[in-house]
């Protein structure tokens, strides 16, 4: 397989209700990514596009409908769709388009416009549940996360006020992100604990917001990347894995699907001791407890101990293992597929030393990004390095 680098990235603001159509959001991000590495559509051999459920944009066959915004006109085009895991997966898809030798330069775009769903995007999730055993009860996603969070907290005896530190840190980090929707430099644990209870133990500020936005990256084969930039960021490892389709049969305390995806990516990257060899982590953080779950699945913390990275400062932007220096989904926003690709873009900017006020000190050399989704059972993991 050929070596593959990320050579450019672009990102729209993440907002609650965008005026732009899904196509226009995708186009804005794609244009920024192309301009960042001074390429035009003539240089792009193929396009990969990620968007999550069609229901959000409200258009059946949404990938094809939005394709022109992603630059797919008269190009080989493929849509990736693994729910919340889509954003990170779309970069894996871009990677194998190039690594395989099929294409030298690929544009990868991820877009989500959740505000089209009316009155609230949560209702789109009703139809992901089992028709017979679950849908008659009219469940929503919050139930499942509340049930999982309660089981996780109870198993390890974790406190709400400790888990709230995750939300606080991410929202504070996001205050330094120009595209962020919920950056709040002065937010406190009390603010989180005093926010509205949605489904105990989940409260308003434990959750990332419904958002609109798009992100794009340009990926290139080694010989092209080296010609175009002095600072290519290499895709060193990729992994993905799917657990049982039934959440009732999953381990609610430990995400096996993340572990298996991470082990696949680490093996490819030659990583034996991830806690020493990974310098920045961008785990998927739609809920604060979920970050802890994912850090444990990524083998960056022992089971039940991920919270300690937040309590002792390790996860801070200037700590030994900065976690979500971008501000993550909790702070920047959560336009599903775009939020995952934002994590890849963040590692690109961080490893090039171009993250501005968000820059992690100490010239980080390697990072890991992860997303989670489908019916809450996929792990998608990418290791990037310079």
């Amino acid at each position: 397989m050929r070596k593959v680098a990320v050579i450019g990235a672009g990102m729209t603001k993440f907002v609650r209700r965008a005026l732009e159509t899904p196509k226009e959001l995708a186009w804005e991000a794609a244009k920024m990514a192309l301009e960042s590495c001074e390429l035009t559509m003539k240089d792009i051999d193929a396009v990969c596009f990620g968007t999550a459920p069609d229901a959000f944009d409200g258009v059946h066959m949404n990938g094809e409908y939005v394709s022109d915004g992603a630059g797919a006109w008269r190009k080989p085009f493929m849509r990736a769709f693994v729910g919340g895991g889509t954003g990170v997966f779309s970069s894996i898809q871009g990677w194998y388009h190039v690594a395989s030798g099929m294409f030298d330069v690929v544009l990868v775009v991820a877009e989500e416009k959740m505000s089209s769903f009316y009155p609230h995007a949560q209702a789109a999730f009703l139809t992901i549940f089992d028709n017979f055993t679950e849908r008659p009860l009219k469940p929503n996603l919050l139930w499942i996360f509340a049930l999982e969070m309660n089981r996780y907290m109870t198993t390890y005896g974790l406190k709400k006020e400790d888990i709230a530190r995750v939300a606080v840190q991410h929202k504070r980090n996001a205050a330094d992100h120009p595209c962020a929707m919920l950056g709040e430099p002065n937010i406190t644990v009390e603010d989180v604990l005093n926010s509205e209870v949605l489904a105990w133990p989940v409260q308003r500020l434990d959750v990332s917001p419904i958002s609109d936005g798009a992100v794009a990256i340009v990926m290139a084969a080694e010989h092209v990347a080296k010609r175009l930039t002095d600072k290519p960021v290499w895709i060193e490892g990729v992994g993905w894995n799917l657990d049982t389709a039934y959440w009732t049969n999953r381990d609610l305390v430990y995400p096996r699907y993340v572990e298996y995806a991470a082990r696949m990516a680490y093996e490819m990257a030659g990583i034996k001791e991830p806690r020493k060899e990974i310098h920045i982590a961008e785990p998927y953080d739609p809920f604060d407890y979920k970050v802890l779950h994912h850090l444990e699945g990524l083998q960056l913390a022992d089971r039940g101990k991920a919270i300690e990275l937040y309590l002792d400062g390790t996860a801070a932007r200037d700590g030994n293992l900065p976690v979500c220096p971008s501000g993550g989904l909790l702070g920047v926003g959560n336009p599903i597929a775009a939020a995952g690709l934002m994590k890849i873009a963040e590692l690109f900017w961080q490893l090039r030393g171009e993250a501005g006020a968000r820059q992690v000190p100490g010239n980080p050399r390697r990072g890991v990004a992860q997303a989670w989704g489908d019916l809450m059972q996929i792990g998608t993991v990418v290791v990037m390095g310079r």
Partner: protein
């Protein structure tokens, strides 16, 4: 503040919908599971001896080895409370008049998601919970034939 936030600054929009109605067959395993729930008031699972897995509600095949599951078992009406939540808002983020309890009750390697009839202060993860069924004459062969679960007294 709720999930539903009217926004006076929102851009102008065209309203339309995706009209879709579906009819879902219960399938090979579901047909039998729900018929037994309706007629006999039992919760049944299916067993894969090779994988050591008991699927509840019963399934037609084992997802691990893809074998057909022919061994069915009555798992009783009492399971273990694996986790629970107290709901304060509805699907659209509006506050509920009364908080509702939802739990996941484990049977075998799976289990059942359902409403709980209990005082939240009395609930503890790991406690035994019993299915409360509708009277036989009212059962139609649906998960709602189970009204919910309550602590075993």
């Amino acid at each position: 503040m709720s999930l539903l936030q009217p926004d006076p600054q929102a851009p102008s929009v065209w309203r339309d919908n995706l009209p879709v109605t579906s009819r879902y067959t219960y399938g090979l395993a579901g047909e039998r599971f729900f018929r037994i729930l309706k007629d006999e008031g039992k919760i049944i699972g299916s067993i894969c001896a090779a994988c050591g897995a008991t699927y509840v509600p019963a399934r037609a095949f084992c997802e691990r080895c893809m074998a057909e599951l022919t061994e069915w078992t009555d798992v009783g009406l009492v399971g273990e409370l694996h986790t629970f939540t107290v709901l304060f808002v509805d699907m659209e983020g509006r506050p509920l008049d009364e908080p509702e309890l939802v739990g996941f009750v484990r049977f075998g390697d799976g289990g059942i998601l359902h409403k709980l009839d209990a005082d939240p202060d009395d609930l503890q993860i790991g406690m035994k919970m019993e299915a409360v069924l509708k009277p036989k004459a009212e059962r139609i062969g649906a998960i709602t034939d189970i009204l919910g679960f309550r602590p075993v007294t």
